[in-house]
Symmetry: C2
Subunit: 248 residues, 2 copies
């Protein structure tokens, strides 16, 4: 339809990169693209840490269980940031802690950071680079916070590896359009939704079988059942509260 | 540097639209672009509601205090969605509630929805349309949930108005690159950060004075102080918990 829409819809996670660093010019274009995203009430409640230090990258790779966190063109860590607003409170001599600690403000900061990150991802892909989001940093945010010297009122949310792709991975088929997109209100007919999921399971099975020459045939719903069978990262509530977020 | 990066960095919020609806083809391109974003562990924990019904749009406009929520080419509402995964639990006969109710899963669903939304925003802008995020829906999610028939395990996060722009609004200058982007670790030197904020305040003052012929001269930090002086949307913690999220 449109070459930019083709670019957006061509996204796939890249996990193997050439041993070739991004230039400062590329990093600036990516970060300034991140900054161009919308931000709730102009609060700009996020910070982006760019990690070049080899030792730090190695520790973050261990935390996340992702080898490409160490070997890539660049590593970004996107953080929800209200520390900036703490400083503002000092400068303006107001008490804003009651507002900073709400669940609403927690959501605002996460959304701000995520919108910025998605712009960064697309900017990198527009430059011919590949990217991969790294939720695995949340396996151990205490450790990540030590490595990155994170102060209170900041939460590292996820990483992003960026680099020159060594290969083109494949794209996993998404849920059917009509399952994700509802007209005028949430379509709650469970029978209809389950039928759509059963059809999607066939699509996903087909995808895996083709990709693995018949060796793998999971469905999407079976994967989700495995994923959610046991709660993970159960330290998170306490961690974010300790950082000053999501208390009231 | 690159026409896609120019498009990304050209974003501004558009709040006045022609009385001209999006076509189904445009809507599909936008939603399929949303779906192309990364999703944590492939959970696809979001749903997009497209609102055409005039009465519903009117009610949502009243909720949010934004007239263009009623008058636009199309209105999308992005929802964090774990209801889908509830259905999966029934289909796969597993108990996943302990995993659904964690703060970690709450964060995952918000991030998934936000990444999808930012792709939708850029796809719309690539089609020559304008957009505006509508956080104002969170003024009253009880009311929004009635209007949109929202079930448990779903949270409407924000809206997005899309349409043919009636005018080109201006772009507000973002925080300085070096304030948002930190090398190797969080740069905690308060004196340095405050100096950057003071310089940015001058940039913002200049922006407002030029835009209003000298009538307005707020700084960014004074705006933030006003915004955060009183907590808003303090019902949110209870609301999300009532919906099944963020309990442990």
């Amino acid at each position: 339809m449109n070459q930019f829409i083709d670019l957006i819809q061509n996204h796939r996670s890249i996990r193997h990169f050439e041993d070739r660093r991004l230039t400062d010019e590329q990093i600036k274009a990516i970060v300034e693209s991140a900054q161009s995203a919308a931000t709730s009430s102009f609060v700009q409640a996020y910070t982006i840490i760019g990690v070049k230090d080899k030792e730090k990258k190695k520790k973050l790779a261990e935390c996340s269980g992702n080898q490409h966190v160490e070997n890539n063109g660049h590593l970004l860590v996107f953080c929800a940031d209200l520390h900036r607003h703490e400083l503002i409170a000092e400068m303006e001599k107001v008490d804003i802690y009651p507002a900073l600690e709400t669940t609403e403000t927690f959501m605002v900061a996460i959304i701000d950071a995520a919108l910025a990150a998605q712009n960064a991802a697309l900017a990198a892909e527009a430059l011919g680079l590949g990217i991969c989001y790294i939720g695995g940093l949340r396996n151990n945010l205490e450790e990540v916070s030590k490595v990155l010297n994170i102060p209170k009122f900041v939460i590292p949310l996820f990483g992003m590896t960026i680099g020159y792709p060594l290969n083109q991975s494949s794209q996993k088929p998404r849920l059917p359009f009509e399952h994700i997109y509802h007209e005028d209100e949430y379509q709650s007919d469970a029978a209809v939704l389950k039928k759509q999921l059963e059809d999607y399971n066939k699509t996903i099975q087909q995808y895996y079988m083709e990709r693995t020459n018949g060796k793998r045939d999971d469905t999407w719903t079976s994967q989700m059942a495995v994923k959610f069978k046991v709660p993970t990262r159960t330290y998170m509530k306490d961690f974010v509260e300790k950082q000053g977020f999501n208390k009231k």
